[in-house]
Structures are given as structure tokens and as C-alpha cells.
């Protein structure tokens, strides 16, 4: 992305910008597929390799991710000697929205649950979700339209059964969240307020200002902490799964402690993986909107125990990540701002794309502007960053007071940096936002490995090759609850034996494929925050 050198410096572009200039009409749209092929990061030459071992041999995968999926484990049998063992019915790995929803669903049905989270409960991408949650609740809307929008947005690569399951859950998920105590924006008449977003055929986004995820996490966190049957282990990243003696069933996990590096074994009937995404791998050098823990550990662990993954070469780059000020680089400006009417302008002050086209198309269009010299250059300490304008002042002029009313989080965040979006346009650039693919699951969240479930961003198949706004929050609650229920359905007597046989299987495969065994995974934290896990 730094190949584009020609660009207008920030100060000059800012001086040239006027919120009241007459805009030229949108240029004729070009075919989205051509645009994506030419500019979307998924299609960058050299960014994708073929996997050589595991359940997805021969499939395309982003290079940085492939290195981790085909890495050696940190844990050896020797590390498990003298390790304390805890038993429970369900182990949930991940303390975001999906993990909490699964924990509550399982605990409500009488299971003993351990929820282990890498950082603190709620340190997750859920709290970053600003725009809202989709559910077909408006009279002019229908489940069918929601399904169609989701499939079309995902370029028809999604699994229709999974999409149908998620959409069906929609209205009930909203009802459940309200019962948990979540606040949603309401109309004057007291109905839920909905809004439209990119790729939606009806107003379907239910939201709480521009901090829907934060509000959701607030209630989930309280419910989880208060539930007697749920034990929360914070700062306890999973560093390996455990399998039965044939390495075919998942029967627990090895958890580390960020505080003192000690290991703990949790032995269980089923494990629900709710570890989120991979933004902190900074694929193709992109900044990310993701929280610190989004290092793809779930994918690595699931792949190592033999689970099949999908769409590993498809990631979502959110069109509007902040570029300036530098300390907010990569942080998100919600799509809600564009849904409310904000336009995207290049350095020449011209529109260049339909702002409400699917996210991948808008991102590709921004990257085209930057690469073709119509971007704006922001000075940064380490390396230069480029972007285009998100024209918030014009929106403010058209609908005075709207920004303050609906996007208080954005205003609060930029204010401390001395920027007022009501006066200053925001410099934005696509930011690595979401992993479209992930672990293959069925409608219960069950993976291809018995005893292992995956929910939320770590799972794949729902969003095809592009996610539309509001479906992520719906998915985590809907599928989180489904997996929580399904995970306690296995009525076996629990594991006889916990082993690392699956790790041996990977070692065999690596040796036979002649691949190095020097790199170890999962990463647990990004290199600049302590690096690969090390006790």
C-alpha cells in the first residue's frame, strides 16, 4: 500500500477542502469484480499461498496466516508434568460476545462452565462494533430479504443453511438482549429504531448510538460474572487443545497465565472456541481495527487438532479506518456515518464510489484512488500513511446536530486529538477489520472435530467472502447460544485420557512435507506487545 508515492500532503489537502463546494456527479461505476481483482488486498500478488499440511491441504491462504497454521506447537508433553487439572462440562475460550452468549446458554441449562479469556472479560472486538446489529423486524422487511442481502453481500460464497439459521435467530436475539438489559435506540413512538447500511435492502440495523457492541458487552459481562455456574479465568490464553488418545476428539485445553506463565489443564466434554479474528497479524501490512488479542489463535489451534477451515484468503478491510491522528491509526469510523449520509472524497474533492456499496468494493475504490495518486498523505513517525476524506462537515451542514446525537463515541475519540469531525473531514483508509472465513461449522457451531465448537469471528461460512454490517453482532449471539446448547448435548462420560496426539500428527506431517519446525504458534500477543507466547 505504500507503493503509491504521488499524493497530496495533508495540510495542503486540508487547506483546499471546502464543505460547501458543489460536488461533481459520481463517475460511472465500473464492474465491482474488476475493481476487486485490481485493488482489493485479497488479490495482491504474493499475498496468498497454498497450505501444505492439515485438513485444508492445497487451499489458498493468506501468507502470514499460513505460516502460523503450519507452525509447531509451544507445548510438549514435558510441559504438562505436574500441571493442575480442572474438570468442567464446557470450556469456552474467548471472552467476547460469542463466548459470553455460549457460556450463558450452557450454564442456563445446568452445565458447569469455565470461560477462559486471553486478556480481561470483554476485551474483544465485540466492544469495537459500533454500527449495530441486524434483525429483520421492520414490517416492510422479511427474513428472506435478510438472507438474500447476506448471501449477495458475501458474493454468494456463504453457506445458505448457516445464513438461514442466523437470520431466523435475529428477532429472538434482539428480544433476548433486551431481556438481558441491553438498551437500544428507540423511535419517538417507542419502537426500536432501525437504519440502513451498505448492501441492505431494508432498514434493519438496530443500534445503541455508535457503541452498540460496548452496550452489548456491558450486559453480557454482568450476566456472566453474576452466574454461579460460570467460572471466569482472565488473562488465561489457550496455548494448545487436548485430544483423546487417537487425536480425533477434542477433550480440553492447556491454558497459560499471562501473569506468571503457569500452565493449567482443563479437561472437559466439549470446547467452544470463541477467540475472534486475526487483525493483529496485520495481513499485507495493513493497520487494523481489531483489539490487541486478535492474533488468530483459535484458527491455529483448531487447525492443528484437525478441524477444517474455509475462505482463508478472504478478509474484510473496512473502508473507513482513521489515518490521522497517528495514535488512532486503524481505528474505526463506523459505517453508520456513511449510512447517515457522509460522502467519501478524494484529494481533488471528487466523489469516486457509491459510499453504500458493499465494504470490499468501497475499500477497493479507496485503494484505487490512493494508488492512482489521488490520495492524501499523512505524515507519520515511522512511515507515511495515505487516505481519502470522509466528509463529515458536509453531513453536519445537511443535518445539524446529527453527529453529536448519533455518534458521540466518534466525537469523543477525535476531540481529544484536537479534531472536530463537524468542522474537519476525517482522513480514512481501509483497515483490516474482519476475517470472513474461519473454522467450518454446522448450524450448531460444531466443527469437523468431535467435541470442538467454534462461534463468532473464528468460524466461517456465514459471511461468504464479504460481511455486511450488523451481521457480526447477530452471529455471535445467535450462534453463541446455539453452540452453548449443543455443547452440553454430548452425553458421553467425559474423556478417559487427555493427550497431545494431534500435535504429534502435525509434527509427522511437517516432517514428511520437509517443512521447518522452528516457528511456533499460537502467537497470543502481537510482536510489539510481547511477541509470540513465551513462558
Amino acid at each position: 500500500m505504500t507503493s503509491a508515492i504521488e499524493a497530496i500532503p495533508l495540510a495542503e489537502a486540508r487547506a483546499r477542502y471546502r464543505p460547501d463546494t458543489e460536488l461533481t456527479p459520481l463517475p460511472p461505476t465500473i464492474d465491482p469484480d474488476t475493481l476487486l481483482a485490481a485493488f482489493h488486498p485479497d488479490h495482491l500478488r504474493g499475498s496468498v499461498v497454498k497450505l501444505a499440511i492439515g485438513a485444508n491441504v492445497g487451499d489458498s491462504c493468506q501468507r502470514e496466516l499460513a505460516d502460523l497454521l503450519q507452525a509447531e506447537a509451544f507445548i510438549d508433553e514435558a510441559d504438562l508434568a505436574g500441571t493442575p487439572v480442572t474438570d468442567c462440562d464446557v470450556l469456552i475460550i474467548g471472552g467476547g460476545g460469542a463466548g459470553c452468549a455460549a457460556a450463558l446458554a450452557a450454564a442456563e441449562r445446568g452445565a458447569s462452565v469455565i470461560l477462559a479469556t486471553k486478556l480481561r472479560l470483554g476485551d474483544s472486538n465485540t466492544v469495537m462494533a459500533e454500527g449495530g446489529i441486524q434483525a429483520a423486524i421492520e414490517p416492510e422487511d422479511s427474513l428472506q430479504r435478510h438472507v438474500q442481502d447476506t448471501l449477495r453481500g458475501g458474493h454468494h460464497a456463504g453457506d445458505p443453511a448457516l445464513v438461514a439459521a442466523m437470520v431466523e435467530d435475529g428477532p429472538d436475539v434482539i428480544r433476548w438482549l433486551i431481556r438481558q438489559g441491553m438498551q437500544f435506540e428507540q423511535t419517538a413512538g417507542g419502537n426500536l429504531h432501525t437504519r440502513k447500511a451498505g448492501g441492505l435492502s431494508a432498514a434493519r440495523i438496530v443500534h445503541c448510538r455508535d457503541y452498540t457492541g460496548l452496550e452489548m458487552m456491558r450486559v453480557l459481562r454482568e450476566a456472566v460474572i453474576q452466574h454461579r455456574a460460570i467460572e471466569v479465568w482472565e488473562q488465561s490464553p489457550a496455548v494448545e487443545l487436548l485430544s483423546n488418545e487417537r487425536g480425533q476428539k477434542c477433550v480440553g485445553a492447556v491454558l497459560s497465565s499471562l501473569a506468571d506463565g503457569r500452565l493449567r489443564i482443563v479437561r472437559t466434554r466439549s470446547v467452544i472456541m470463541a477467540t475472534g479474528g486475526v487483525g493483529r497479524l496485520h495481513l499485507n501490512g495493513f493497520p487494523t481495527s481489531n483489539h490487541l488479542g486478535a492474533t488468530g489463535d483459535g484458527l491455529v489451534l483448531a487447525y492443528r487438532i484437525g478441524a477444517k477451515l474455509r475462505d482463508l484468503d478472504s478478509f474484510q478491510y473496512h473502508p473507513t479506518g482513521l489515518v490521522y491522528p497517528p495514535h488512532l491509526s486503524g481505528k474505526l469510523v463506523t459505517e453508520g456515518v456513511r449510512a447517515a449520509g457522509a460522502l467519501l472524497l478524494n484529494a481533488d474533492g471528487r466523489r469516486f464510489v457509491d459510499e453504500l456499496a458493499p465494504r470490499d468494493v468501497v475499500s477497493a475504490a479507496i485503494l484505487r484512488e490512493v494508488r492512482e495518486g489521488r490520495g492524501i498523505r499523512s505524515p507519520r513517525l515511522d512511515k507515511e500513511r495515505y487516505g481519502v476524506w470522509l466528509d463529515t462537515p458536509r453531513l453536519e451542514r445537511a443535518q445539524p446536530g446529527l453527529l453529536e446525537r448519533q455518534f458521540p463515541k466518534l466525537l469523543a475519540r477525535t476531540r481529544v486529538a484536537g479534531i472536530d469531525p463537524r468542522v474537519d473531514p476525517l482522513l480514512v483508509h481501509p483497515t483490516l477489520h474482519y476475517q470472513n472465513g474461519g473454522v467450518v461449522i454446522d448450524v450448531d457451531g460444531a466443527t469437523t472435530v468431535p467435541g470442538l465448537y467454534a462461534v463468532g469471528e473464528v468460524s466461517g461460512g456465514i459471511h461468504g467472502r464479504n460481511r455486511i454490517m450488523g451481521n457480526a453482532l447477530l452471529e455471535i449471539i445467535g450462534f453463541g447460544r446455539r453452540a452453548g446448547v449443543a455443547a452440553i448435548g454430548d452425553r458421553d462420560r467425559g474423556p478417559k485420557k487427555v493427550t497431545l496426539e494431534h500435535v504429534n500428527r502435525v509434527r509427522r506431517a511437517l516432517t514428511l512435507a520437509g517443512m521447518p519446525m522452528t516457528r511456533k504458534a499460537p502467537q497470543v500477543l502481537p510482536p510489539y506487545a510481547g511477541g509470540a507466547w513465551n513462558r
Binding site: D76, E77, A78, L80, A81, G82, T83, P84, V85, E245, K496, K497, T499, N504, R507, R508, T511, L512, M517
Partner: protein, 408 residues
């Protein structure tokens, strides 16, 4: 061993349940004719061949056969084909049943003719669904064939799913429709077996060898072995090796050859630490045993046991205490609870080991463990408890320091 030199796993013989093809690629039913013509001659061949019980005991097969043959039928005589295979790390019988069921059935028929048994029961671990399906089909084919000797009845009986059900007298209880509690011995099955009738019970692999011995002669069979071993043996290799799997090798093949030539050596090139031999009495082998021939007598001479021929390889970096604790837990689960010393003994051993393994053990716990090991052996009806102690003793002998360092 080159694939074409293999006997039981010869590629031509791995054809599944297809009787017509089996008769073409094997001996075309002649072993049966030989057994009908002269049963005593067949028993003599087995004796000279020194075929041993390959289900773990290593007991000379001919002794059992002669004992059963000497008994009059009352009114029946049983042959039980023991396919309850459930030992940790053992997966050879399921392969034979799945891929060459007719080899096993033919062996069973020859044995039945040789000892005069009229009822043949295939007693199979119920979890082996593919083996069961293959064997079921194969038995149907025999029933439809003219080759099935008159008066012999073949039955397929899925076992109870209990590990202890593999013990020979427990198997008989299950066949009689009762819970598989091992019986006291004597009387031995040869005299009083299923429903009080004389009963021969042999392992699947043992019987699979029989037709080949009958056809090719005892000397041919003896020549397949190395050192003091005779014939070939299926070794189930697993653990930290590059190529785990079932290997048919000459009985008496050195451990080194099995692990490094056939198994491709240890994973990640780590040093070898120990080998658990699977079977009713597990023992530990160490790198010092690498050049020992893997046969019953050579291993027994070193205080070990071949068991079922399962070799679970452990590399440096693996905790022995954890592994032993897992085995003992398995046996504690498997105890039928009939004999008090075994019922509470295995449970206590398992609890102590778990404490030590999870870092909560004290010096007293270790001392108790050692005392129990001196006290318990030989106090049950079957071999289960003694087997557990044998494993523990063997791990104390070689890895006592690991127990000590795991203490609190």
C-alpha cells in the same frame, strides 16, 4: 519386511469380505481338507511350529489345543475367537478382521476341526464397527458356501465393551449372557468353558496364522522368525514416531529396527526415552533394550513382556508419571469390581498417581504407592491388578527420579 514377504498382511490377501476371491488368492480351502483328514497331524504341526498365543499371554497354542481335543464334547465343544482388542496402543486385530476376515475365519475353522469343536463364536469388541461389518458379511458368505464343514456353526457376538471382557473366562460369561466377570481358575476353560462345555479360546491374530502353517509346514513358519522367535508378528507401533501403524515383521525383530527403520525414527529427531509395551501386563522398555529381539522369551528374560505387540514410543520430553497415571486410570476404570483388592486397589493407585502427577503429591503418597505395589499383586481372580503393579514396578525401576521430582 517387504510387503510380499508378509504372511498375514500380504497385499494379495487384504481383499475384505470376498470369499470367492479369498479362495483364489489363498490355499483354496485345502487347509480345511487337511484338518478334516487328520486333526492330530494339524495339532502336531502347530506344536512343532511353536505358535504362541498372540493376544498377550504367549502361552503355547498346542497345549490348549491338545487339552481341548482330549476332552469329550458335552454335548458341544466351543471355539471362541477373541477379538475384544481394547488394550492401549493395540490395533492389529481390527485390521485383520477388517481387511482379511476370511483368513481369520479359515484359521478358526481349522482350529475347530483340529480340536473337535462344533460351535465357533467370534467375540468382537463392539466399538469396532467396521470390523464387525466386514466379519458379518464374511460369515454369511461361509454359511452360503459348500466349503463350511458340516456340523460347525459360526456365530458373531459383539462383546460387552468392557476391557475386562477380553479376559478368557470373562468372555465365556458374556457368551453365556452374563456380566463379564472373570472366573476363578481352575477349572480351566479346556475342561469347563462356555455352558460347561470344553472351550478353546484364541486370539484373532493367533488363528489367522493357522492355515498358513497347515499349508506350508511348521518349518516354513519357524523360519519366518528371528532368534528365538518363530513366525511373524503384528506390531502396533504408536507414540512419538514418524510412521505409526501396524507392521508385520519376523517375531524377534529388534526394537531398534521397528522404531528406526519401519517407524521412521522419532519425531523431531528427539532422543528415545521409553517404550510402553501394550497388553494385559504393560512394562516399560528403555533405550538399553533397543537391541533386544521383540519376542516373548527375550523380553521376559529382561523382566519385560511382549504383550500384544503394541509399542508405544515415548520421546525425551514426555513425562513418564503422567503416562503411567493415565494407564492406571484406564485400568481402574476397567476393573470389574469383583475382587475387593483390585476394586479398591486400582482406584487407590490411580488416585495417588493423579495427586503426584498434578503436583499435589507428598513423600507419603509415594511411599504408600510403593507399599501397595509390594502388597497387591496376585490377589485377584484375573491378571488385571498384577498387570497394573507390573507397570508401576517397571516405571519405578527406570524412572523413580521422575516420581520424586513431581512431589510437592
Amino acid at each position: 519386511m517387504e510387503p510380499l514377504n508378509q504372511v498375514l498382511l500380504h497385499p494379495d490377501r487384504r481383499i475384505g469380505a470376498d470369499l470367492e476371491r479369498w479362495l483364489k488368492v489363498s490355499h483354496g480351502g485345502t487347509p480345511l481338507a487337511a484338518a478334516i483328514a487328520d486333526p492330530a497331524m494339524v495339532r502336531e504341526q502347530i506344536r512343532v511350529a511353536e505358535l504362541r498365543g498372540l493376544g498377550g499371554s504367549g502361552f503355547p497354542v498346542w497345549k490348549k489345543w491338545d487339552a481341548v481335543a482330549a476332552e469329550p464334547a458335552k454335548p458341544d465343544k466351543y471355539l471362541v475367537v477373541n477379538g475384544n482388542e481394547d488394550e492401549p496402543g493395540t490395533f492389529k486385530d481390527r485390521l485383520l478382521l477388517e481387511e482379511t476376515p476370511h483368513q481369520v475365519i479359515e484359521g478358526a475353522l481349522v482350529a475347530a476341526l483340529a480340536v473337535g469343536a462344533n460351535r465357533v463364536v467370534f467375540y468382537i469388541n463392539p466399538d469396532l464397527s467396521r470390523s464387525l461389518a466386514s466379519l458379518k458379511l464374511a460369515i454369511e458368505q461361509w454359511h452360503a458356501s459348500e466349503l463350511l464343514p458340516q456340523g460347525i456353526e459360526l456365530t458373531l457376538l459383539p462383546g460387552s465393551g468392557h476391557y475386562i471382557g477380553g479376559e478368557e473366562t470373562a468372555a465365556m460369561e458374556w457368551i453365556e449372557g452374563k456380566f463379564p466377570f472373570p472366573r476363578g481358575k481352575p477349572p480351566y476353560p479346556a475342561q469347563v468353558g462356555v455352558h460347561g462345555c470344553p472351550t478353546l479360546i484364541n486370539n484373532v491374530e493367533t488363528l489367522a496364522h493357522v492355515p498358513h502353517i497347515v499349508m506350508n509346514g511348521a518349518e516354513w513358519f519357524r523360519a519366518r522368525g528371528r532368534g528365538t522367535g518363530t513366525g511373524t508378528k503384528l506390531y502396533s507401533l504408536s507414540g512419538d514416531v514418524l510412521h505409526p501403524g501396524v507392521y508385520e515383521l519376523p517375531m524377534g525383530t529388534p526394537l531398534r529396527e521397528l522404531i528406526y527403520e519401519h517407524g521412521g525414527g522419532l519425531l523431531s529427531g528427539k532422543p528415545l526415552k521409553a517404550i510402553f509395551t501394550g497388553g494385559p501386563s504393560n512394562t516399560l522398555l528403555t533405550p538399553a533394550d533397543l537391541d533386544v529381539g521383540l519376542d516373548f522369551d527375550s523380553l521376559r528374560a529382561r523382566g519385560g513382556s511382549l504383550g500384544t505387540g503394541a509399542m508405544i514410543v515415548i520421546s525425551e520430553g514426555t513425562g513418564v508419571v503422567k503416562r503411567v497415571a493415565e494407564y492406571v486410570r484406564f485400568f481402574a476404570h476397567s476393573s470389574c469390581g469383583q475382587c475387593p483388592p483390585c476394586k479398591s486397589g486400582t482406584a487407590t493407585l490411580s488416585r495417588l498417581l493423579d495427586r503426584i502427577d498434578t503436583g499435589r503429591g507428598t513423600t507419603d503418597d509415594l511411599a504408600t504407592l510403593e507399599d501397595l505395589c509390594a502388597m497387591l499383586p496376585g490377589s485377584g481372580r484375573c491378571h488385571l491388578l498384577s498387570g497394573v503393579v507390573q507397570l508401576l514396578d517397571s516405571s519405578f525401576r527406570h524412572f523413580h527420579h521422575e516420581y520424586k521430582s513431581a512431589l510437592r
